[in-house]
């Protein structure tokens, strides 16, 4: 892996974050209502026009948008995400409180999605026409068609209300010790919903990719020459894994966005839930900070996938694909 390649990817990641910040900033300010609303707190109805103007002036909200964006960008680059308009606390510390929960839900879900889809996709793809092959196709359709909120409600009704074996919401029990077991109990349902609504699609993609490789010319040539089946499979899986990784990379942003619904449904105190609340109260500094942090997680995930692809695909390493 070359320093040039890593540098190129990092520049690309920075460019993506810049575009995301630019678009987010201007789109959120284009929504109806004043961006100063969050600063009024519960006094919006009683404040005079002069007082409102003073607030706008104090927080530089009366300046042109591009100037406001420039000021935000400058302080963000210096590592300062500003202060929450609603809570009056530094955005970084609010995000820091929520980040571990989001990373836990995202990390655990992604881990099981990857492990599950690789096992299912490869096993089924290696046996074209088998019961597992056909069964996975059906499971994939079901998995990707079931809405997360519906499955979540079903789980809550089944495991929390009826059986009473799992907590229905939150990230820890009230009055609990906040320990590992308690956290895991709260994580099981939201993570299961995320995994079950995604694993089928990823498995199906890999399954088709493996099937396409199994039908390749080089597999025919190897089999005709009695090359060990184990050796053939190793090559097939390696090749099938490259488009799978690509697909994973392309879908990670939407996967991350989708987990917002699950966080809201299970009152999982993560970034997604925080962002939704920030939109509601027009807490733009917090919203921008949350968007940038989410964007950073996606960019880092994509970088990790790029590194894996670089390792697996010699054409990429040799620069044939413009890497």
């Amino acid at each position: 892996m070359t320093v040039k390649w890593i540098g190129k990817r990092m520049m690309l990641g920075a460019l993506v974050l810049f575009i995301v910040s630019f678009l987010s900033f201007f789109i959120m300010h284009a929504s109806p209502g004043s961006s100063a609303t969050a600063y009024y707190g519960g006094n919006a109805q009683t404040l005079t026009t002069a007082e409102k103007e003073r607030i706008s002036e104090a927080f530089a909200l009366d300046r042109p948008l591009i100037v406001q964006y420039g000021a935000w960008l400058k302080q963000t680059v210096q590592g300062n995400l500003g202060v929450s308009a609603k809570e009056g606390r530094p955005v970084a510390s609010i995000l820091g409180e929520r980040l571990p929960n989001t990373l836990l839900l995202f990390g655990v879900s992604m881990f099981f999605i990857i492990i599950g889809s690789i096992w299912l996709g490869m096993t089924a793809g290696m046996r074209p026409g088998s019961l597992l092959d056909r069964g996975l196709s059906a499971f994939s359709i079901a998995s990707s068609s079931i809405p997360a909120f519906w499955l979540g409600i079903l789980f809550i009704y089944l495991f929390a209300v009826t059986l009473g074996v799992l907590p229905s919401s939150g990230t820890g029990s009230l009055g609990g010790d906040g320990g590992f077991v308690d956290k895991i109990k709260h994580l099981i349902m939201p993570a299961s919903v995320v995994v079950l609504t995604h694993v089928g699609l990823y498995a199906r993609f890999l399954q088709e990719s493996v099937k396409a490789e199994i039908g390749s010319y080089y597999v025919m040539a190897a089999r005709a020459n009695g090359v060990e089946e184990r050796e053939i499979r190793r090559g097939v899986l390696r090749n099938a894994f490259i488009p799978y990784l690509n697909y994973l990379g392309v879908t990670i942003p939407s996967f991350f966005g989708g987990s917002v619904i699950v966080e809201a449904l299970f009152a999982w105190s993560g970034l997604g839930q925080l962002l939704v609340k920030s939109v509601m109260v027009k807490d733009y500094p917090l919203l921008m900070g949350g968007i940038m942090l989410t964007g950073l997680i996606v960019v880092v995930s994509l970088f990790a996938i790029d590194v894996l692809m670089y390792t697996l695909d010699p054409k990429l390493r040799k620069g044939e694909l413009g890497g």
Partner: protein, 248 residues
């Protein structure tokens, strides 16, 4: 060496090879010639027992006493590994694009005879040198080599394992004339070292250049067989005559 009797192949009920009987004599180069769609490649697929989905073969193909059409999958796997060597038309796609050549050449050659890495490298480097290929290619990927070089790599593996029967399905059609000539020279070299060769082609020049015996196929049927010199001098079937006329 290999004899087919009443071989027929149907794909989803449609006949592509009909009641074909032929003989591949040991130690000779036999060419199977015919236009596209004449059933040559399907005949090869039948004898390798690698027919596409929906295809069904009937009749008999005897190789060293074994009826290939009745052999178990395990028996066929052993035959393909220990008795045959097969070269296909598209050399570039005959290798896995993501795996280095040393690993693939090992699997195609030393892995089939049980040699370790050290003796593989030693022997393979010597063979590659004979075929005017640098040992450097062992550290390269297939997409870094030309079609001609890759076809030579296949020949190198065939020279390494020296199997009883080499089956070459249109091996020269993707090569330019100069590389084609060289390829045929190495094919002859392989034959001289004791390997029986079955070459599938639609090119009469290839047949005239390298083969001892020829089988002419048309629309799934064998229309003429015999020594190349005899068939070329005195063709008996109308199709063979037309084929010869079109050569000049």
């Amino acid at each position: 060496m290999l004899e087919a009797k009443g071989l027929s192949v149907k794909i989803n009920g449609i006949p592509v090879v009909t009641n074909s009987s032929f003989f591949i004599p040991e130690g000779k180069i036999t060419a199977m010639i015919g236009e596209s769609g004449s059933g040559k490649s399907m005949t090869v697929a039948a004898l390798l027992r690698m027919l596409p989905a929906g295809a069904l073969a009937s009749g008999e193909i005897r190789f060293m006493g074994t009826d290939l059409l009745k052999a178990t999958n395990e028996e066929m796997a052993v035959l393909r590994k220990k008795e045959f060597f097969t070269i296909f038309q598209d050399a570039l796609n005959s290798f896995n694009p993501s795996v280095k050549m040393d690993r693939q050449l090992y699997a195609f050659s030393a892995g089939r005879v049980g040699d370790d890495q050290e003796s593989f490298r030693k022997k393979m480097k010597a063979i590659l040198g004979k075929l005017s290929l640098s040992a450097e290619i062992l550290n390269q990927y297939p997409f870094e080599l030309s079609g001609g070089m890759l076809q030579r790599c296949m020949i190198a593996c065939a020279l390494y394992v020296k199997r009883a029967l080499l089956i070459a399905d249109e091996p020269t059609s993707a090569l330019d004339k100069v590389v084609q000539k060289e390829f045929l020279k190495w094919l002859r070299l392989l034959n001289e070292s004791g390997t029986t060769v079955l070459i599938i082609t639609h090119d009469l020049d290839v047949v005239a250049d390298v083969a001892d015996e020829m089988i002419v196929m048309r629309k799934g049927e064998i229309v003429e067989t015999g020594a190349v010199a005899d068939v070329l001098a005195r063709p008996t079937h109308e199709y063979t005559k037309r084929l010869l006329d079109s050569r000049f």
